[in-house]
């Protein structure tokens, strides 16, 4: 019997089909990342029991939740799942304590036991002082913790979080992220977090699963995914330049034009090449001599001010995103339309195999 969540299923909603293939072990936090329409909500809905699978099965701790081949289906009310919605969905006319106590009461606990469980979870999440308040009197972070307490008070084996921090403003998000990470790490069951925010995923998750167009395109630890993104979407999320190409000896012929001299890699055929924006040097003229094996010209088409640097969007063969300091922009007179030369050392390029649905 495999503990935790095992989802190997197809879920069809209208014209869209999700091909889910993931496992979440007890005590593990897995973040499902993907653009809008990738199938994240469909996945959560299927695991929660709100949408049946059209093929395959979903198991939790060895128990069948849904199996298309046998027709077995455990409805949502009977699944040991705690669900935290994006907008928390606290019952507006119940106090914080009553909201949290609702879960164990719904499972059949007596009023006294439910109240006791609620008080216990409120204490664990630092919410005791808010017990008598109504949801309308809570901040976003407080409401999120109450929703989490309510989900946990029901004693679930699986915790589902749908964009848990998206309803928060940027100012409170970081503090709440840290707290949420602490509470999730103390949860003994499997935890599946759906998000479109890469930072949220990187901070909260032990492992990432990336969904695009209804399929898992990459899976791995945050470090693995950040170092070797498998798709353009993931590369953009983690802030890397990503190129596809074909190995030609010590070079890679890029599909979009241009070539890279790369370090020894042991790959053959089609490959992916990742390059950090901060690893590219910008020069107004072609460098005469340097250790950088890759030099090419490009045209600046855009500048974006980030917190402590400026990101240049350059078109060339290949195109690239490059990070420079604001001082460099000023000194070099970098502006849209300007022609520059880019340099990148071969050792800064990460070359790896281009495998569909790759697992890192």
């Amino acid at each position: 019997m495999t503990a935790g969540l095992v989802a190997r299923a197809e879920v069809t909603r209208g014209a869209f089909t999700l091909h889910a293939d993931l496992r979440v072990a007890p005590g593990e936090v897995v973040a499902v990342l993907g653009p809008n329409g990738a199938g994240k909500s469909t996945l959560l809905s299927a695991v929660a029991g709100l949408t049946p699978v059209s093929a395959g099965q979903i198991l939790l701790d060895g128990d069948v939740l849904d199996d298309a081949s046998t027709g077995a289906f455990l409805d949502a009310a009977h699944r040991p799942v705690g669900f935290v919605f994006q907008s928390y969905r606290l019952f507006p006319h119940l106090s914080v304590r009553e909201n949290v106590a609702f879960s164990p009461r719904a499972r059949g606990s007596s009023r006294a036991d439910a109240r006791s469980a609620a008080d216990d979870w409120l204490a664990r999440l630092g919410l005791t002082e808010l017990a008598a308040r109504r949801p309308g009197d809570l901040s976003g972070g407080q409401a999120q913790r109450v929703a989490l307490a309510r989900a946990l008070a029901g004693g679930p084996s699986l915790l589902l979080l749908d964009e848990p921090l998206s309803a928060l403003d940027a100012g409170s998000r970081l503090d709440v992220q840290t707290e949420l990470k602490k509470h999730l790490s103390g949860f003994a069951g499997a935890c599946l977090v759906v998000t479109h925010d890469p930072l949220e995923a990187l901070l909260l998750a032990d492992r990432l699963v990336v969904l695009e167009h209804g399929r898992v395109v990459q899976e791995g630890t945050p470090a693995q995914v950040a170092r070797r993104p498998a798709t353009e979407y993931v590369a953009k999320l983690v802030g890397l330049n990503l190129y596809t190409g074909t190995v030609d000896g010590s070079q890679v012929a890029l599909d979009g034009g241009g070539t890279f001299v790369v370090p020894n890699h042991g790959e053959h055929g089609d490959v992916l090449v990742a390059l950090r924006p901060s690893a590219v040097v910008v020069s107004p003229h072609r460098p005469d001599v340097s250790s950088a094996r890759n030099t090419w010209s490009a045209t600046i088409v855009g500048l974006t001010m980030l917190t402590d640097r400026v990101r240049l969007d350059l078109v060339g063969k290949p195109s690239a995103l490059v990070d420079v300091t604001p001082a460099a922009v000023a000194e070099l007179g970098l502006a849209p339309g300007g022609e520059v030369w880019l340099s990148a050392k071969a050792t800064e390029l990460e070359v790896y195999g281009q495998v569909p649905g790759s697992r890192s």
């Binding site: 019997m1 495999t2 095992v6 809905s45 299927a46 929660a48 029991g49 709100l50 949408t51 049946p52 099965q57 198991l59 060895g62 128990d63 069948v64 939740l65 849904d66 027709g71 077995a72 289906f73 455990l74 409805d75 949502a76 009310a77 009977h78 699944r79 799942v81 669900f83 919605f85 907008s87 969905r89 606290l90 019952f91 507006p92 609702f102 879960s103 719904a106 499972r107 029901g154």
Partner: protein, 348 residues
């Protein structure tokens, strides 16, 4: 401004509920006030009892449609016919002048009957039963009880349910360990209790303030009210399943309530409506509750005599409530397409 006008027309064209109100409502009012709004009863059902029944029957004008001609029956039998709502007037032809017993619980018919009988002069002695002074309040209060139940059952219930959907807490309930049937019954029970309490208050106030009698069985009245409540609660639940916002729920409930008020016999007598419109009244649950409430409160009518109204309400309650809760259940258990055996363990 032209762009605003065009935008507004486009929005109206896509807002089916508002369109329905703009188109259906005027047509409905036209039909109602054209064909239904009529206080004049053209004929009434009459019984003639007593030894001179044949002579009296022969002399009655066409306004009195004699449906019971029983020479051997007595006044007591005639009163029973009135109590059971079999006839609107009963002539007791065992005395001179002839005694005409009028059912005062059917106000408009009674008024027409009394007016016609007055033209007979001293040859007929008139006695109005159940509502001797033909007081409008005595007839309206039992009907208003039904109206209040309709209001709570449709508008208030549907708003309460839709509000849960708007807040997203309905979806939260769907993923909680509560059976859909428990959610539905748990949501509806308070409205049932509140409506029942409102009904008791209005009934007692009506009796106290307007001296409306309560001549019949409380149990029969309560049974009728309970059946009627299930129907209107079912309608309220159904409205909530086809409404995304409280505004939509109110619009739909209003479209449901308006025909009920105007075509149930509460304001305009059913008998006076054109047949083409009267059938609508017979489809409305309020019509049957009004029959029950007026019958029990004013005439002391029995369950047996009111069985057709009870039967119709029972069928309506079963059909409407079942259909509505099945629809509502879809929101709470959308994935419940297949019935599952107990979760099987799998070595994966």
């Amino acid at each position: 401004m032209k762009a605003m006008v065009v935008k507004e027309f486009r929005e109206l064209a896509r807002d089916r509920r508002t369109l329905a109100m703009l188109i259906v409502l005027p047509l409905l009012l036209l039909v109602i006030f054209g064909y239904a709004a009529n206080f004049y009863v053209s004929s009434v059902k009459a019984a003639v009892v007593g030894p001179q029944a044949a002579q009296v029957t022969a002399q009655l004008p066409a306004f009195f449609e004699v449906t019971v001609d029983a020479p051997t029956d007595t006044r007591a039998d005639a009163e029973k016919l009135l109590q059971d709502n079999t006839v609107d007037v009963a002539f007791v032809a065992d005395q001179t002048p002839v005694l005409a017993l009028v059912d005062g619980s059917n106000l408009f018919a009674a008024q027409s009957i009394v007016g016609t009988l007055n033209s007979f002069g001293s040859s007929v002695q008139t006695e109005v039963l159940y509502n001797p002074d033909l007081t409008t309040a005595w007839v309206m209060i039992p009907a208003i009880i039904g109206l209040i139940l309709t209001f709570i059952g449709t508008i208030v219930t549907s708003i309460g349910l839709v509000r849960e959907r708007e807040a997203g807490t309905l979806e939260q309930l769907a993923v909680m360990p509560i059976k859909p049937s428990s959610v539905i019954l748990g949501k509806i029970a308070p409205y049932f209790l509140l409506a029942s309490l409102d009904m008791i208050i209005v009934t007692v106030l009506g009796m106290t303030l307007f001296d409306v009698p309560f001549n019949g069985s409380v149990a029969v009245f309560a049974l009728g009210a309970a059946l009627f409540l299930f129907v209107v609660l079912g309608i309220g639940v159904f409205i909530s399943t086809i409404s995304r916002t409280t505004g939509q729920a109110i619009q739909t409930a209003f479209l449901v309530m308006l025909p009920s008020i105007l075509l149930s016999g509460m304001i305009f007598p059913l008998d006076a409506m054109a047949p083409g419109v009267r059938w609508i009244g017979y489809l409305l649950p309020l019509t049957y509750f009004v029959m029950i409430s007026q019958g029990v409160m004013l005439r002391g009518a029995s369950l047996v005599s009111l069985w057709p109204a009870f039967a119709v309400l029972a069928v309506m309650a079963t059909v409407v409530f079942t259909a509505a809760t099945l629809r509502f259940r879809r929101d709470l258990a959308p994935g419940e397409r297949r019935r599952a055996p107990a979760a099987a363990r799998v070595d994966a």
